[in-house]
Symmetry: none
Subunit: 522 residues, 2 copies
């Protein structure tokens, strides 16, 4: 059976604290969602956010394959008319094929928040839906607080749905607005709705939030009771604890329950979709996200690694390639030579009998505080440097970093470095926000004339962890750096009682790695 | 009905990529879990990790209120004897009241991974359980891959449970090891197990993983079918996509389904528990975590804010104070003056009408990245410095820190500081293991002639967390220092894009605090 995917990343998703998207960002995400088979894209709330008008204008000029764009807004004001309701008219002006209208299902909200009568609320729903049906729109009716309202007064909650259906709504979307419902409640109430409204051709939709860590389960429970539209966001972005995450829901419905959501080719780009939206939103992807996280199919324990070497699916719930992810063997001091070889092969590298040497170096460095399991880039560098034909693209010879405070002046950070590239010696200096930032700037200044492509390499994450913390300021900091160039990502590490030295080691690896990878490609 | 909480943060949780805990960390978490009502604490796998032996030895000397410590291990090797099985004997040596044994439920794993016979696997389960029952232990039997195994061969999977029950296992824990099961499957299979094993007194437990974003829902489905032990980790830490998160599961079971898990007072510290474990693990807490995240009850949208002003629970699924969290309106500043007064009084300090001033300073510093939750010492310093009669025992005027590398020589770190004590100017210099260590040494050198008692002040912990990590090397490090003098302990903090500046602020507080406390005592 076909399930229709309704994405509200651009509207409800941006309610997440700290997340905001430009019109440009929204258009990029729209095109990606369309390409990957999302059926409905809710672009914004033109009545509440004037910026959204520009989006709706520009998206009309954007050719989409199949996705239908929806504008979101509430039913008309109490005591008013659709014709002169600013919010309703903003929805008209958006000129979308789909309009999603949110209305009240709960007597608490009708009487105490909206401060109107039950009858007027039914009229607001019916007239607003009818107004857009008369304009030829597809209308989704979002029944706000439906499950909570049903528990307060089931008859009234059902009567609001009837008002929408009788006015011609195409989809009745049951919303768990506060996100606190449980799967068995969602299932039972959806079953009642289907029985009551089932005679009509109206489809049922489900819109859930994650306040009980149950948003995906709640959406699936509704689908199993006959809902055919699922509303959510990419990566579960949204207010409070987030909206239902479409990513695992799509994978669960399609791979585990046999529903059709997208094509297998689109499903195989689910990881890409998740990472792409995170990148546009300027948020770090969740490494532990179901199906698409970097760690979702990572195996650390020696027993698990040994088992998957025998039977690939022994510790995996699905084949990760179905969702565009991959199995990953995590390298750590507990691993043996088999792990090292497997890991190197995954990176497309050959050890040519160097396993023992590389393992030896890993153990030595881990005893000094390095940790390679989260730093695949540094592991890759160890392997590459152990090759017989390795030629370093540059060498860091000397550096000095000075941090200074004089009275009430701003604290300054200055770095100087001496770098050899081929036969040339580069001597550079730079200021920075702090000592590591200054060091990074000085090294790049020395390398850029020779390797202009390093301008595209960005540091996207910087972590410090103190090991042996009980040694106080003499403890060993371990630095982890994540770098990116376009879609490519790598993480590198360094460890030393001197935090500047640890950062310097991680920085070195992070800048040398893309140069070596490029050489090989040529 | 009572539900027993079984925490495996210290064992399965540490399988999370990038997470590692020292023995000291593990003991701290153990005490917190015990205080907050967790019934079972799985401390480690002594047979696979030699470091765990030290934990089990030290936890025996730690007085716990009610929690029972469990050691984890697998059933004996195929073809062997419990008496000479290294893994089994490591469990014996751990001397815990509870032993948790993991065994195979799935014919795939028995035949293709373990490469033994179905009959031998049953003998391994039965003999291993009986061995520990004969030693007087409480035995939890973890049925690995139970749901997957049941789907492959239900009769065999059930026979493994019977082998454990007949040997005297106290709890049969159904494990969704690969994390891919769905709630309706977990419910149906748990129902069968209850029907088949229900006659015995054996309890049913549930252990789930989050690979389908359904771990909490799966655990709840099992509880609704009669499971009475739930196994999970704090914050859902764990391999791949993580284990079931105990935090929302406890809240859901207790607040929504009426089960008893912990006391209401313990429940009201759920947010604290989540943040405490994140701090020890040196991971940023998830702001969007259900129930306990900083954003879990944050309201951004104007309509929602207006509604909650009228009816508090109109957009909240529970009262946030039940789990120690709070409602937060994102744009406006909510007054926390009452909080400040309460905290100061807990420290034996009086604010004398300075609440507003101290609150202002806290807000200003928190906006720069400070966090006072885990740094009571720095909060105390804010309060003390705001007093009308405050006289600083010393002032740090200038400092310079230089880190230098010349060719293959050791990297050096040197600090010079200028400090005023009374009318005297002290100008000192010192080397260190790193820049912060050098700075600490130079400051102490300047202060010791005036305050010889500082020789007794030790730095016992030093942590660095990067906030805004996506800014790369220009991100803001937050430093947390824990200091001690005899039995007295205090923690201080600093934050700045310059890590040396952040450390310097935390160091200053850490050295001034004991001097001020002493002055007051005199």
């Amino acid at each position: 059976m076909q399930i229709f995917l309704y994405d509200t990343t651009l509207r409800d998703g941006t309610q997440r604290e700290g997340l905001s998207l430009s019109v440009e960002d929204k258009l990029k995400i729209t095109m990606m969602l369309d390409e990957l088979g999302i059926h409905y894209i809710e672009g914004g709330w033109p009545g509440s956010n004037p910026k959204d008008a520009e989006y709706f204008q520009r998206v009309r000029e954007t050719p989409l394959r199949q996705a239908r764009v929806a504008a979101f807004g509430s039913t008309r004001r109490a005591g008013g008319q659709c014709e002169d309701d600013a919010n309703i008219q903003a929805l008209v002006a958006a000129q979308t094929p789909v309009v999603t209208l949110v209305g009240k299902s709960s007597v608490l909200h009708v009487e105490q928040v909206l401060e109107t009568t039950r009858a007027e609320n039914l009229a607001m729903i019916g007239e607003s839906v009818a107004y857009f049906k008369a304009l030829g729109k597809e209308v989704c009716y979002d029944a706000e607080h439906f499950f909570d309202g049903y528990k307060l007064d089931a008859d009234y909650a059902l009567s609001t749905l009837r008002a929408a259906t009788e006015a011609g709504a195409d989809v009745l979307v049951l919303c768990d607005t506060n996100g606190g419902s449980l799967p068995h409640e969602v299932a039972a109430i959806t079953r009642v709705v289907r029985a009551q409204i089932g005679a009509s051709a109206t489809q049922i939709g489900i819109h859930t939030h994650n306040d009980g860590a149950l948003a995906v389960a709640n959406a699936m429970a509704a689908v199993q009771e006959g809902a055919t539209q699922v509303q959510g966001t990419i990566n579960g972005y949204g207010e409070r604890c987030g909206n239902m995450d479409l990513i695992p829901t799509i994978a669960n419905l399609q791979l585990k329950l046999g529903y059709s959501c997208v094509t297998p080719e689109q499903l195989a780009r689910l990881s890409e979709l998740s990472h792409y939206v995170a990148a546009i939103a300027n948020l770090n992807p969740d490494d532990h996200a179901a199906y698409v996280g970097r760690s979702a199919f990572a195996h650390k324990g020696g027993i698990h690694v040994a088992a998957i070497a025998k039977v690939e699916h022994s510790y995996q719930h699905i084949d990760p390639t179905l969702v565009g992810n991959q199995k990953r063997v995590v390298v750590s001091e507990l691993s043996g030579r088999g792990n090292i070889r497997l890991r190197a092969e995954e990176l497309g590298l050959h050890l040519n009998g160097n396993e023992r040497d590389v393992l030896q170096q890993i153990k030595e460095r881990e005893s000094k505080g390095y940790q390679f399991e989260a730093a695949e880039g540094s592991f890759e560098m160890l392997v590459r440097r152990s090759a017989a034909d390795y030629v370093p693209p540059f060498e860091l010879l000397d550096f000095t970093v000075t941090v200074e405070k004089r009275g009430n002046n701003e604290i300054t950070a200055l770095a100087t470095v001496k770098v050899r590239v081929g036969n040339e010696l580069m001597h550079t200096a730079a200021d920075g926000e702090g000592p590591v930032d200054a060091l990074d700037a000085a090294i790049r200044k020395a390398l850029l004339p020779h390797y202009p492509q390093l301008a595209e390499v960005r540091l996207v994450d910087f972590k410090v962890r103190i090991i042996d913390a009980h040694l106080g300021t003499a403890a060993t900091p371990r630095v982890l750096i994540e770098s990116a160039r376009g879609d490519e990502r790598w993480s590198t590490t360094g460890a030393s009682p001197n935090i500047i030295a640890a950062s310097y080691q991680a920085l070195w690896d992070s800048l040398e790695l893309p140069l070596l990878r490029e050489l090989i490609r040529k």
